[in-house]
């Protein structure tokens, strides 16, 4: 579903992504972890072209999303098929929760408003916030906002979802509610790529873990293999640092 082939990116002289070769298969849940500055966020943002790559190929569902020859309509269409959840939620503050969710299906996919509303209520129910449909983002807690953000992304019925550190900006007691929603998505067979520090989630839900450092994917393994017997020395150091505190 998502394939990286020899992907490289530079910020000026800084080599942010080095020779990335990897694939997220359909229905797979991949967790990307690593120390800060390793390029994890940059990597996931290249998938829907919030960041551009300098060389290599990035295929989403067979389409080259990073190709410069894509028309803007093409790019928008591809983006609408990839759900993206941000660390800072980025809900639209001037719209109610319901409008946040229905805006894109109505305006981009041309869904009838009544139909979109129904689907939105079902999604809100799924994330446990049906009673907040008419509230505004400012009135919600961080965890609630992030769950709405997930519902907003799901409203476009994407075949794949990307999560960029979805719980890093949350107070500890709200992390669980968001992870629960993500777990539910994974159980339903969604193709997911998550950048996260939540190792418990990785261990329980991920099909594979990618460890990144300094722009490279240094190790890919199943969670059991990765957490019990990491191969790469830097992966070992990362895990021991995590356990230390």
């Amino acid at each position: 579903m998502i394939r990286f082939a020899e992907v490289n990116k530079w910020y000026g002289a800084y080599h942010a992504l080095r020779d990335i070769n990897a694939e997220v298969r359909k229905g797979e849940v991949v967790v990307v972890c690593g120390p800060s500055g390793s390029g994890k966020s940059t990597l996931i943002r290249t998938v829907n072209r919030l960041e551009e790559i300098k060389s290599g190929q990035l295929l989403f569902d067979g389409h080259d999303i990073q190709s410069r020859s894509n028309s803007s309509a093409e790019l928008n269409r591809l983006r609408s098929r990839i759900g993206f959840v941000f660390q800072s939620f980025n809900l639209f503050p001037h719209l109610s929760v319901l409008d946040n969710i229905t805006l894109s299906p109505v305006r981009i996919r041309g869904e009838k408003r009544a139909v979109a509303r129904q689907k939105a209520m079902a999604l809100l129910d799924r994330v446990g916030l049906a009673n907040k449909a008419t509230a505004y983002p400012a009135q919600l807690s961080g965890g609630q906002q992030q769950r709405v953000a997930i519902a907003r992304a799901l409203a476009m019925e994407p075949p794949a979802m990307l999560f960029d550190e979805p719980t890093s900006a949350l107070d500890p007691e709200m992390v669980g509610e968001v992870l629960a929603v993500m777990r539910g998505l994974a159980d339903d067979g969604m193709t997911m790529m998550c950048v996260t520090h939540e190792m418990g989630f990785a261990r329980d839900v991920a099909d594979r873990v990618w460890f990144m450092d300094e722009g490279r994917i240094l190790e890919t393994a199943t969670p059991e293999d990765f957490f019990t017997a990491p191969q790469h020395p830097r992966a070992r150091r990362f895990l021991s640092d995590l356990r230390a505190h």
Binding site: N76, S80, I82, F92, P93, L103, Y136, P137, Q139, M156
Partner: protein
């Protein structure tokens, strides 16, 4: 101090007519220049968003000029200076059709357009970059993102500043008296010189300006409150 007697002013038909005429002209000038300013501000904003450095510099120069030169001087430059450069036919036409008021509207409108466009621009810049990213990530085009996500927020952000500058515009209409526009402040001096009731006349004018300024500020506060629920994250 002599006795305070508003009736002398308000019940005298001549004085009343003069003051009402002044009030009307103040409001007309204010409204027309506000409309001109808003329209021009939108144009300036659009030009500013163009990817050309020349466009940016042109708008910056326009704003800089209008913010650094006193409004009274701008009025004088238009009415005494620029009018003199116009072809004679146009000058004659203007003199027959309230040239003073026309130039006042132009000068005030152009001046406030600079402030309004900066307010709108600040409103735009106050929006976190994550907003446009989220909109694009959902698949909205640039135009769609602007229309549904960015511009609604920009306007809401800009309302307090826009309201304040609207009140300024209203007050600046009084400067037009220096180029002979028979607005409220001008009429106040006329009535004063005829009635010698300085205190009363000034009071009437003060009440006039205060009422409208407070109305404007109140409307602004209402607008801001209505959008506050949708405001900051």
């Amino acid at each position: 101090m002599h006795d305070f007697n508003l009736a002398v002013i308000l019940q005298n038909p001549e004085f009343r007519a003069m003051l009402i005429a002044g009030a009307e002209l103040t409001l007309v000038v204010a409204v027309l220049s506000w409309l001109l300013a808003m329209l021009l501000a939108l144009v300036l904003l659009t030009v500013r968003l163009l990817p050309s450095t020349l466009a940016q510099r042109a708008v910056a120069a326009y704003v800089s000029y209008h913010r650094n030169v006193p409004t009274l001087v701008q009025l004088m430059l238009w009415y005494f200076g620029i009018s003199n450069l116009l072809p004679q036919g146009l000058q004659d036409w203007l003199n027959d059709h309230d040239a003073e008021a026309i130039f006042a509207v132009i000068a005030l409108g152009l001046c406030q357009a600079a402030y309004f466009s900066e307010d709108m621009r600040s409103g735009l810049r106050a929006i976190p970059p994550g907003q446009i990213e989220a909109a694009r990530a959902l698949g909205h085009s640039y135009v769609g993102a602007m229309r549904y996500v960015i511009l609604p927020q920009a306007i809401r952000n800009a309302i307090p500043a826009l309201v304040n500058h609207t009140v300024s515009l209203f007050k600046n209409s009084s400067l037009a008296m220096a180029i002979g526009v028979a607005e409220m402040t001008h009429m106040v001096r006329e009535v004063e010189s005829r009635s010698f009731r300085t205190f009363e006349v000034y009071t009437v004018a003060t009440v006039f300006y205060l009422v409208f300024s407070l109305l404007l500020m109140g409307a602004g506060a209402l607008l801001a409150r209505q959008y506050r629920a949708a405001a900051a994250r």
